[in-house]
């Protein structure tokens, strides 16, 4: 369960959209409609990111950077660069996390009542903003030229993984910063830059472990 929680939070961290003067519910609804319209015109996005995790188990925040790709409705890829690189790939059915340095990979099966399903559903719903109102209580505010959306999960399963999710967007409705707060106090802040909606090579969402990679299934599925 803890594992699922952590996984889901990691995935939330590369969600790319919006930003935070209080918006009325009608204004929030209008804003969400505009975002959806934009996403519908270009259902894929890629961006660079920088992330800072504040975790209970670590004395200091852990930083990382890299690039993220997303293709609606549920495909994504995330590459972390630096001294501890990793690649996370999901084709909507299977999720891989590959650690080249350790020549190891973790494999998670989605669906089939996987405990990860709630987390993945939350992520993809947020990326699409499809039906997001039914899963979250959403408030919004205007901040400078941009917007801030605050999402509070409705479902108990999601609440176990996520306490609050804040999205800051610029005037063009591009995500600049997201902030996730976990029920145990852990916090992940991600900032995005160089957003592009150019088409993405679909092979990026497939993953085949290189020869010699040690594969584990932490959830046993």
């Amino acid at each position: 369960m803890k594992l699922c929680l952590s996984l889901s939070l990691c995935f939330f961290s590369f969600i790319s959209f919006a930003q935070a003067q209080e918006l009325s519910p009608t204004e929030v609804k209008t804003l969400l409609g505009e975002i959806r319209q934009k996403r519908a015109a270009a259902p894929q996005v890629q961006a660079d990111f920088q992330e800072q995790k504040t975790m209970k188990v670590m004395n200091k925040p852990v930083s990382s950077s890299g690039k993220v790709w997303f293709q609606a409705p549920n495909k994504f890829r995330r590459e972390v660069r630096g001294s501890s690189p990793s690649v996370t790939v999901s084709d909507g059915k299977t999720l891989w996390i590959h650690y080249p340095k350790f020549q190891s990979a973790e494999q998670y099966t989605l669906g089939k009542r996987s405990p990860l399903d709630a987390g993945i559903a939350a992520i993809t719903a947020s990326l699409n903003l499809e039906g997001v109102e039914s899963s979250y209580n959403i408030t919004g505010a205007r901040e400078g030229n941009g917007y801030v959306l605050t999402l509070l999960p409705r479902a108990a399963a999601t609440k176990r993984m996520l306490q609050q999710f804040t999205i800051r967007m610029n005037q063009q409705l591009q995500v600049q910063r997201t902030e996730m707060l976990q029920p145990n106090g852990d916090r992940i802040v991600t900032t995005y830059s160089n957003e592009s909606r150019a088409p993405i090579d679909q092979s990026l969402f497939n993953f085949t472990p290189p020869n010699g990679t040690k594969i584990t299934k932490p959830l046993g599925r």
Partner: protein
């Protein structure tokens, strides 16, 4: 003085003495009932003794705490899944607050901080119980270099974005707990084998261990009153769009329902049979005092037989509550016959005393043989080797003889000395006309009825439609049972959840317990690998080996735990981890240091596990109150319903050198199918042979013998055909109905043919007996049929099957035995009557 005269003198001239005897009998019986009444609601006592699976089930139910578990289920509409998700933790908390609740399992213990902490607390003994190679491999992780390497790698994995290290650090900061728990975790697949939520999310399960003192009917009833009040209260917090169903099932729920339903069954079946039987009697004779006399005599029979039963057995099982209804249905036959004969004698001019003597003289023998065949039929229930049915058989055997005796004595205390001539009414006229017609022209009746019987026989022996044989656990459940409804709702919404077979092992000491389960786990593991079983779980990981513990402690003594502690402190600081997160790791090192000291006492893992820990649900699955009595579980690829599955399990599950008792409800019921079929075929055949011999002795006429044997055979095949056509299932226990039908059904033929042999006038003699036989048959059908009102399915199934069988026995007697006898042996009464056949035309 002949016996019939002595009886008539006693009941007509010495009435005071008779009443005194009756009062004494009733008084003693009531005293016994009041002071010794004890009802046994144990459904297992209906199953035959001597079967290992049945005995295993009794041990499991008696000695394992799991039987004190109640399973709660919350069931909602598909649109309320998220609301249920929200409500479930609140419900679990409400359960924990109940005074009758000892523990609650609302999810996998591993998902809660408490569950994880409890598991860490048990790590030391479980680590020391690893087999030596695995122990050495695990303990090597405590080398300073390995500790440093591991923490460095975990930190790098966190930086890489892996969620796994965080989880790993929370559960197992040192990396040695996971290997120590692996054998335990392999058996802790609660969620895999017994999921706590349905796939569609509309049902959530909560397991609760109650603190009820015993599983007695009284304690179970008191608990369930509190539980049912809670169910109503708990729903008040529900805010979903659709309704919330709070279901509960478990042994206490069933025991409480069964004990209540026993009370209901006694009242409903007795009142039902009294009303039906009394109604038939009144329709037949239009007399009130004899009707009251009959009721009184039957009540006395029931009282005396119940008192005798209590004195013999000490308690009465749930099926014996059907005894009164059956006895009323059967005993009234004697009243009808004897009163019919008495009335006939009065109409013939005999005075009261002489008429009583005449009735006893004429029918005493028939009643004795009737009581004998019925008693033997019910005593044949002893061959079923079921304590419950043994009681029923003995009670009815006693009761039926008492009924025969009381109907020839006590009953006449209620018959007025002044004769009221019986009014001729439509029933008698109809019977008389039918008898005269069928005796005169038997061929017509035979041409009509024999094809019907042959058709029914063809249906009976044809494979289609099939005779339903229900050996499922549902066939043993009370009708309209809330606990049953809860169980079936759970089963329907969670079809992958079915009852496993269990293997019980009783060991002599702790080492043997360990060794035996190691062998069993290895063997069952191979079966799983071979695909013969779906999964299994055993207490192997929790069965500690004193030898292993000692050997591993010696090895542990060689490990420099102080260096390991130092290395951990340094690595935590260097890698930037929070020291607080590693507190369990340091605690484990301390525990290992204590265990490594020679002579120190290792804590029992049972004392390390808090009483409120959810892990007890797992422990209680395997361990009884006696830690040396344990059980393992084998889940098959499909629910156990067939004999082939049982044979496979009996062949594959045992392990050489390990005395394993195989059991489980589904396993046991499937195991009893051959027994049940043997009861159906062999015992019924023995009963038939006994009756054939008795009839031969009684009639000393092969033609009459053959007619009645054919009549009985037709009755049984017609009964089978009716059950097929009406889709009435046979179950493990109502197969006993066949012998009862043979025993009761034969009586009607005996009454008719014995009278036939001596008959002088068709109207007077033959029609005179056919009417009481019809009335007797109808009262027996009413008596057994009233059992169909019982909640107890065994009793209801037995009653309905018997009522059907007796109906066909009566029909065969009236529409086959009589015309066949008239066709085949017409001289017996014609010659004796001194009339010529053509004179009969006028009759």
């Amino acid at each position: 003085m002949p016996l019939h005269q002595a009886i008539s003198h006693l009941v007509t001239r010495r009435r005071g003495l008779m009443w005194l005897i009756v009062a004494l009998l009733a008084g003693i019986s009531i005293f016994v009932l009041v002071t010794r009444m004890k009802l046994d609601s144990e459904v297992l006592n209906l199953l035959p003794s001597g079967f290992e699976s049945v005995e295993g089930l009794k041990v499991y139910n008696r000695d394992f705490a799991q039987v004190r578990e109640l399973t709660f289920a919350l069931s909602v509409q598909p649109g309320d899944v998220e609301e249920l998700e929200e409500f479930a933790p609140e419900f679990a908390e409400m359960l924990r607050q109940q005074p009758w609740c000892a523990r609650v399992l609302a999810g996998s213990p591993l998902e809660t901080p408490e569950g994880m902490r409890d598991l860490q607390g048990m790590a030391v003994p479980l680590l020391l119980n690893l087999d030596p190679p695995a122990f050495h491999e695990t303990i090597a992780l405590l080398q300073p270099e390995r500790i440093r390497e591991r923490l460095q790698r975990l930190r790098e994995e966190i930086e890489a974005g892996s969620p796994r290290p965080q989880f790993e650090l929370e559960l197992d900061p040192l990396g040695v707990i996971a290997p120590a728990l692996r054998p335990f975790a392999e058996n802790a697949t609660v969620e895999d084998d017994q999921p706590l939520a349905s796939p569609d999310g509309t049902l959530r399960i909560f397991m609760v261990v109650t603190n009820q003192p015993t599983l007695s009917a009284f304690d179970s009833h008191r608990l369930m009153e509190a539980v049912n009040a809670f169910r109503v209260e708990a729903q008040k917090g529900w805010e979903g769009a659709g309704p919330l169903e709070v279901l509960v099932t478990g042994r206490s729920a069933y025991v409480a329902e069964i004990s209540l339903s026993m009370r209901h069954d006694i009242i409903v079946t007795v009142i039902g049979s009294i009303v039906l039987v009394g109604g038939v009697f009144f329709i037949g004779f239009h007399r009130w005092l004899p009707l009251i006399g009959m009721g009184f005599s039957l009540l006395l029979c029931c009282l005396v037989a119940l008192a005798a039963g209590l004195l013999i057995f000490g308690e009465l099982n749930m099926v014996t509550v059907g005894f009164c209804a059956i006895l009323i249905g059967l005993g009234v036959d004697f009243a009808i016959l004897i009163f019919g004969k008495y009335q006939q004698a009065r109409d013939d001019g005999f005075d009261h005393t002489a008429a009583v003597g005449e009735a006893v003289r004429n029918l005493g023998r028939a009643i004795f043989f009737g009581a004998l065949t019925t008693a033997v039929g019910f005593l044949a229930l002893l061959l079923a080797n079921s304590p419950g049915f043994t009681q029923l058989g003995v009670l009815i055997a006693i009761g039926i003889f008492l009924a025969g005796l009381f109907m020839m004595t006590v009953f006449f205390l209620f018959v007025p000395a002044i004769n009221v001539r019986e009014r001729r009414h439509w029933l008698f006229s109809a019977v008389k006309n039918y008898v005269v017609w069928t005796v005169r022209k038997p061929a017509i009746m035979l041409w009509i009825f024999v094809p019907v019987l042959l058709l029914l026989t063809a249906i009976a022996i044809s494979p289609w439609p099939p005779l339903i044989f229900d050996a499922s656990t549902r066939s043993m459940e009370p009708k309209e049972s809330d606990a049953g409804h809860a169980l079936h709702t759970i089963m329907n919404k969670m079809p992958e959840r079915w009852e496993p077979a269990i293997g019980i092992v009783r060991s002599e000491n702790v080492q043997q317990l360990h060794d035996q389960w190691q062998k069993v786990a290895a063997h069952w593991g191979a079966l799983q690998q071979a695909g013969k079983i779906r999964s299994f779980s055993t207490p192997a990981a929790l069965a500690l080996s004193p030898r292993r513990l000692e050997a591993n402690r010696t090895s542990l003594g060689a490990v420099d735990l102080a260096a390991a502690r130092q290395a951990l402190e340094t690595a935590v600081a260097e890698e930037g981890f929070s020291a607080e997160s590693f507190a369990p790791g340091f605690a484990l090192l301390d525990g290992l240091a204590v265990a490594a000291q020679p002579g120190s006492e290792l804590p029992d893992w049972r004392t390390l596990l808090p009483k409120s820990s959810s892990w007890w649900f797992l422990v209680d699955r395997y361990f009884s109150h006696d830690p040396l009595l344990t059980t393992g579980f084998v889940t098959t690829h499909a629910p156990i319903t067939t004999q082939a599955q049982n044979e496979m399990l009996e062949r594959e599950m045992p392990v050489e050198g390990v005395p394993l008792t195989l059991s489980g409800w589904s396993f046991t019921l499937a195991d009893l199918v051959p027994w049940s079929q043997r009861q159906l075929i062999v015992i019924s055949a023995l009963m038939a042979i006994f009756e054939a011999g008795l009839l031969a002795l009684l009639y000393r006429d092969w033609r009459l013998w053959l007619i009645q044997v054919l009549s009985l055979a037709f009755a049984v095949t017609a009964m089978i055909a009716s059950m097929k056509l009406l889709a009435i299932p046979l179950n493990l226990l109502n197969v006993l109905a066949f012998r009862l039908v043979l025993a009761v059904g034969v009586d009607y033929g005996i009454y008719v043919l014995l009278v036939w042999q001596k008959a002088r006038e068709v109207e007077h003699d033959v029609a005179g007996v056919i009417k009481p036989v019809i009335l007797a048959g109808l009262t027996a059908i009413a008596g057994f049929g009233s059992l169909g009102l019982a909640n107890n399915p065994t009793l209801a199934g037995l009653g309905i099957a018997c009522a059907l069988g007796i109906f066909w026995s009566l029909a065969c007697t009236v529409f086959f035995t009589l015309p066949a006898t008239a066709a085949w042996e017409p001289k017996a009464w014609r010659e004796a009557s001194g009339r010529r056949p053509e004179e009969m035309e006028d009759v």
